[in-house]
Amino acid sequence: MMEEVKETASVLSVHDDSIKVTEVLKDGDTLTFIIVSQKLSGTGEYHVDRTYEDFEWLQQHLFSQGDVPGIQGVIFPPLPAKPQVNASPRSIKQLGFLALGECQPYCKALETFLQQVAAHSILSKNKAVEVFLTSSDPPGRQKVKKNIFNRLSQAVEEMRKEGHKDVDEFFQNERDHNLVLTGCTKTAAEKFLDVVATEQKIAVACGHFSTALHLCVEPGEDPDKQAFSRVCVKLSEVFESIKKNMTSVAENNVNTLGLGLDLESRYQEAEREMLFRRTCKLVELENAQRNVEKAKPVKKAAMEEVKKAAETEFEHTSGVAKQEVKSTINNCIPHFHVSFHSGLVC
């Protein structure tokens, strides 16, 4: 069913921090997520069910707000990669921590995405968000054509423009810092993933050992045999509990620090993309300025117009970007705080 999404700004009618992804239902190959949110008016909740495609729909709508000034300066909350019921090794690698555990880390990641969108001053105004969170019917599934984020072309230009020197020191620093931070976080996340994977392997090995010990139990009257069997049974129990401990430790790690690192890593990627867009705008502006200088008098006025447009856009973008960057610091801390505080055992 196609929903007409108006481009007018609207106010979100739910509490942003009340949004929870409570459940995930598996039906063959499709996963459906149950989302619950509290009404602002305080008189109840919205229960909606959405698939991953619905999330993508929402994201597309957010991306396509071409007429909102400075939209390019927004750090778009990252949406996790598409989950698969029978995941291929490549997609598992892509999902990283989110592929481990049952669905809990993944649901948490989706939840964070929605909360960040709903809390964002610019993004929450998009009608699509309201529709997504409150409408009992599924939002439209058709792809929105106008998309300012054509990833393919970006990849090629990235090489050239990434290193373009900035006019603003604040942003230059931020870009450099972001580059370093992105690399570090990604490495840390990968290494931690290795740790968790090994913990799981140990849990499995303990399980095997425990089973093997059980096989050593011999029936018999012989006191020696009985003593040996007793010892084996006890040890088998110990290893069984070690296994359980390891499993829960690994699970905990995934749900806390693992998730935190993953969110952090993806958020920094999103910031990097935003900074890159701004840099592109800067390049555009500089090109426009050059064109104005080089233009013949006939074309000069037109070039001047283009330049002005580029300037305005750039200013808006930078303005929004600066705000975003400053608030980023407030964004990432809660992740780590939650991670560290709620589960540290290795």
């Binding site: 931690f192 705080h337 560290f340 540290l344």
Partner: protein, 500 residues
């Protein structure tokens, strides 16, 4: 709730460990059983001990002083000079001519056992200070063997000697040639490792060669302790000489590529073939049952061994991964501007590093305690099976001489009808000799069966004791590791809370 649950889980496991550590309280009852069955042991040998004990008890000593080739056991501690350098008979062949003395020595063994049955076993051997002697391919590792004891057998209470690996192998081969074929379970020596030793010889001072030396040192120590725990082997002059005398003749026959080595291999093959062809009429169900039991045990222990090895491997991996994560967390901490977060991350990195060390230690504990123990027992079981095989061979010999006797009797009967008095006399003499052999064969068979029964029960008791001790040690180490982990994390918690 979330902040408590992980620690709570660990605490839960600690209580389970404590319950298991209380398994320790069991030995009290088991020890009582130990002593009672021990004293029962010698008394079981009622069959023919009464006679030899009276007749030959004194004769034992006489015989030993006169004929130095007999490796006879004396409790007076013979001077090592009597024991000649054993010719390279590391091949396990039954010594037909000497079965007389073996029987005598058995009775004297029993005497000694009865006398000292109540004595507490007080000897401790440690192998330490591996030292590289020499250079290049002729280099070897010398180990210091320290003995601390209060047993009167030894001249002093505490003494040390230097031995090399081939000395240990030499000791084992001597003991094996003396005792294996009469039914005693001689603990096997640690295995040779050409690769490992070559690395050490060449002078590679790295982690793996250090590990190799440590592994070997530990194995040698366990080997010696097992050997002296055996009441008979403890008193063997070769063992005493090994532990006490500063100079030991070099055991050349243990080299893999020597002529003795080749002879060993050939005989091993021959033995394997023989084993397949001997069909024994087992009159005693006990032996059949025990053999089956040991087969099963072998399978189980091997499985356990594989499991433990994989566990050790994973733990080592965990330690490596934790170290890498610690490094990356430190880097992240350095690049983060937010000071509290940065500090927290650096602290996290430090904690993880300490944990990595912990994991490493735990891996070592897993390995040295468990894996080696299981490996030792798998090898011991080979010795046990060998002893059963010897019993079969003894039976075979007895049967063979019986058949030969039968044939000779038939031949004699035939000769009765011919008129050849000297041939007849010869036949009669041969028959007499054979009759003696048959009787001896039967006695040997009875003896070896009896010895095996005793040895098996001793082995089983040792097995339970060994496992229990190791398991308790292991559990204690586990508990310690967990407690240490908790301490580390508790120290870190305030840092984490301080981030916001």
């Amino acid at each position: 709730m979330k902040s408590d649950s992980p620690l709570f889980l660990v605490a839960q496991d600690l209580t389970l460990f404590c319950i298991c550590v209380n398994v320790q309280s069991q030995p009290a009852s088991l020890a009582a059983e130990d002593i009672s069955t021990n004293s029962n042991g010698p008394k079981q040998d009622s069959l023919f001990d009464d006679d030899p004990e009276d007749l030959f008890a004194e004769a034992t000593e006489e015989v030993s002083l006169d004929s130095p080739e007999r490796d006879v056991l004396l409790s007076d501690g013979p001077s090592p000079a009597i024991t000649p350098i054993t010719p390279p008979t590391s091949v396990i062949t039954p010594r037909i001519g000497h079965t007389h003395d073996d029987m005598f020595t058995h009775s004297s063994f029993d005497e000694i056992e009865e006398e000292e049955g109540g004595d507490s076993f007080d000897i401790h051997i440690s192998v330490s200070d591996p030292e590289k002697v020499g250079d290049g391919m002729n280099a070897y590792m010398a180990y210091k063997v320290t003995t601390k004891t209060s047993i009167s057998l030894f001249k002093r209470n505490e003494f040390a000697v230097k031995r090399r690996f081939s000395d240990f192998l030499g000791l084992h081969s001597k003991l094996a040639s003396k005792y294996l074929h009469i039914g005693y379970i001689v603990p096997p020596a640690p295995e040779k490792s050409i690769v490992g030793m070559t690395k050490v010889k060449v002078g590679k001072e790295d982690q793996s060669s250090n590990e190799f030396v440590e592994k070997r040192r530990s194995a040698l120590e366990r080997y010696l302790m097992r050997t002296v725990k055996h009441p008979i082997l403890l008193k063997d002059p070769d063992v005493l000489q090994f532990l006490e005398s500063s100079e030991l003749p070099r055991a050349v026959s243990t080299q893999a590529l020597s002529s003795a080595g080749l002879l060993r291999m050939v005989n091993k093959a021959a033995d394997a073939v023989n084993k397949m062809t001997i069909k024994m009429n087992e009159s005693d169900a006990w032996f059949e049952e025990k053999q089956q039991h040991f087969e099963n045990l072998d399978v189980q222990l091997r499985k356990l061994h594989t499991s433990v090895e994989s566990l050790v491997c994973h733990r080592k991996e965990l330690s490596v991964n934790t170290a890498q994560f610690a490094k990356s967390a430190a880097m992240l901490g350095n690049s983060e501007d937010h000071t509290a977060l940065s500090r927290a991350l650096s602290q996290l990195a430090e904690v993880e590093e300490k944990i990595d060390q912990l994991h490493q230690d735990q891996a070592n504990a897993d390995f040295y305690l468990f894996s080696e123990l299981l490996g030792d027992y798998v090898r011991l079981l080979t010795a046990v099976k060998g002893v059963f095989d010897h019993r079969m061979k003894t039976w075979q010999k007895w049967q063979d001489s019986q058949m030969l006797l039968q044939k000779k009797r038939e031949a004699e009967a035939k000769l009765q009808f011919t008129n050849k008095p000297d041939k007849l006399q010869q036949a009669k003499d041969e028959i007499k000799e054979l009759e003696g052999k048959v009787q001896q064969g039967e006695r040997d068979f009875e003896q070896i069966s009896k010895t095996i029964r005793k040895e098996v029960s001793r082995f089983e008791k040792e097995r339970v004791k060994d496992f229990k001790t190791i398991i308790i040690k292991y559990l204690e180490s586990l508990v310690q590791t967990q407690q240490q982990l908790i301490k580390y994390w508790e120290a870190f918690l305030p840092e984490a809370k301080a981030i916001s």
